[in-house]
């Protein structure tokens, strides 16, 4: 391509001014979260069905995706030098990225914990945990909804109809997080009141930790939503 080399040499300062949008990276990151969710659900459901081998397979997939998301995050961070001026507060952006990343961190914790002890969960607790999984996924999906609108939101400078839509979605996140909390407390209460014949104490502790981390996923999704809410603040 020697012929084009001179053309490549021509510089236009305007090119250097328009910097690649870090929101692109954020959207890529949220796509990873999407993929992760699928595998988390499969992992937990497999575990609850006592199919521990499958659960462990899914765990590996989740960990890989979490690692890839980490790389995206590092990439975004590496490409935001001090000289970049953003349409939103840069610190708000970094905090949002951090919160989004935490969602996956907690998700990874959950699936890794599951590999540490194989407990066949009694039906009534399993039912509760299945509900919790679905609730958490609803919560994160609401957050994904916000992410889906984020580009449009930036484009209209955080005003107008887009703003109202996103505000509603964030309210939804809060709502689902609250319901996840309620479920979490209910399951924990059941676990605390387990008879020794039904489940040994260590398994109880194990499951309590798992449920706690599961609730954490929803918490982090809520935090991320609140970050976006902060960006909307005028």
């Amino acid at each position: 391509m020697e012929k084009d080399s001179i053309l490549d040499n021509i510089r236009a300062p305007i090119l250097n001014t328009l910097y690649r949008s870090p929101f692109d990276g954020l959207v890529s990151h949220s796509e990873k979260i999407d993929e992760c969710l699928k595998h988390i659900k499969r992992c937990i459901n497999a575990y609850l069905a006592c199919d521990f081998a499958k659960a462990e397979e899914e765990t590996i997939k989740v960990r890989t995706l979490e690692h890839e998301a980490d790389l995206i995050k590092a990439n975004i961070r590496a490409h935001l030098p001090k000289s970049i001026f953003m349409a939103v507060s840069k610190s708000e952006f970094h905090l949002l990225l951090h919160d989004a990343d935490s969602i996956l961190d907690y998700a990874e914790d959950v699936v890794v914990l599951l590999t540490m002890k194989r407990t066949c969960v009694p039906p009534r607790v399993a039912a509760g945990m299945k509900e919790l999984v679905n609730k958490i996924i609803q919560c994160v999906e609401a957050y994904q909804g916000v992410m889906g609108h984020i580009e449009k939101l930036v484009q209209v400078s955080f005003s107008g109809k887009e703003r109202d839509i996103v505000k509603e979605l964030i309210k939804d996140i809060h709502h689902f997080e609250h319901e996840a909390d309620v479920l979490e407390f209910r399951i924990s209460k059941e676990l605390f009141n387990m008879e020794e014949e039904e489940m040994d104490p260590i398994s109880v502790i194990h499951l309590l930790k798992v449920v706690d981390r599961m609730g954490g996923i929803a918490d982090k999704a809520e935090n991320a939503g609140d970050r976006v809410r902060a960006m909307l603040a005028k």
Partner: protein, 447 residues
Amino acid sequence: MLDMTIGALVILLITVIFGFYMAWTIGANDVANSMGTVFGSGTLSLKRIILIAVIFEFLGAFLVGAHVTNTLKGGIVEPSYYQNTDYFSGESGLYIFVAGMLAVLLAASLWVTMATYRSLPISTSQSLVGAVAGFGVISIILGDIPLEAMNGTMLIKISTGWVLSPVLGGIISFLIFLLIRRSIFEAKDPEKRAHKVISFFIGTVFFILILAGISGELKNLREGMKGILPLTVLDLIFSGSWLRVFVVLFISALAGIFGGYYVSRSKRLRKLGTIDRVEKMFGGLLIVTACYVAFAHGANDVANAVGPVAAISQIMFEREITNEVQVATWILVLGGAGIVVGVSTWGYKVMTTIGKKITRITPTRGFSASFGAASSVLLCTLLGIPVSTSQIIVGAVIGVGMAGGITAIDLRVIRNIIVSWVFTIPIAAATTAVIFLVFRAIAINIV
């Protein structure tokens, strides 16, 4: 004019060739900076952009190009000294001035070519001014002309223009985008508002373009058209009366209303969501603004190519050099044609290469930046100040960014611009000085 020696004709030919070459490089390099915002928003196909650029660059160069051409011809180094027998015997002064202008042209061409090969973002305006300043300084050092011959105030005026023009472009763009944001994006019914705002802007651009065009070169045409149109109509168009302003205002308002109406009726809008529709509506406005940018750029930058040409040709044909605003028509045509050829040949290729890399600029932002930049360029042109359109467009884009219009802007470009301010002038000046020493020696020997 007809008693020209072969030597003189050769010099004229060289001048024309180099002038055309400079114009060509200006067209080729600058089109990306002026049209980048339009192309980046995907509103027009590249072919259409080139077509618009070609038409309006030429119009700008032809109609309003004389102002800055004059500055570069005789505004920095006062040419009357070269006709003053206190300093030069007979016509030798004129020959030395020609040598100087040739050196300027050659040095600027060399510098621009080399900078392109080395990937340095060049400002043809600053190179030219640096070159002319170099000619002036070395002439003073050699004792050809006294210190007063160099117009220090003009240089200060020009340097101030370099610093202030991007700032002005930035401020205008900032205000425009802020206006768009407040009145459209934050409104209850963005579409209806957009319709009105767009009408207003279309009208404004028409107004500015027509008025600028009429204020310029057309004074020549007035004489030519005396036989064709009745005097009252001619007076209406060419005189400086308030009536003319009102007529143009009226025409622009009509253009605005029809333009806005047409834009909102476009069938393609039916399928899109509200914000997308607003952006698409601005597409039409962006096209009008692109014409404005091309016009302003042609008007300001043609001088970089033909300033020296105008000086040399006046000396060759009229044996004198004056400072009037009437630049010979053929010179502006030469410059305009050079720019046009540059834009449509190399410029086209540059746009495809660079155009791919310019992303994420929606029509509203593109419009705000382009309008601000074009206004700043045009204002400086009417004041006779040569400015760098690429630096102004950077200022304009940053202005839009400051208004929250662009997701992420890199402010390091400002540092690069300042660096180029510092280095371009000395280098262009030094190169010119060296070349001039050679040409001057030749000129003295001939005379």
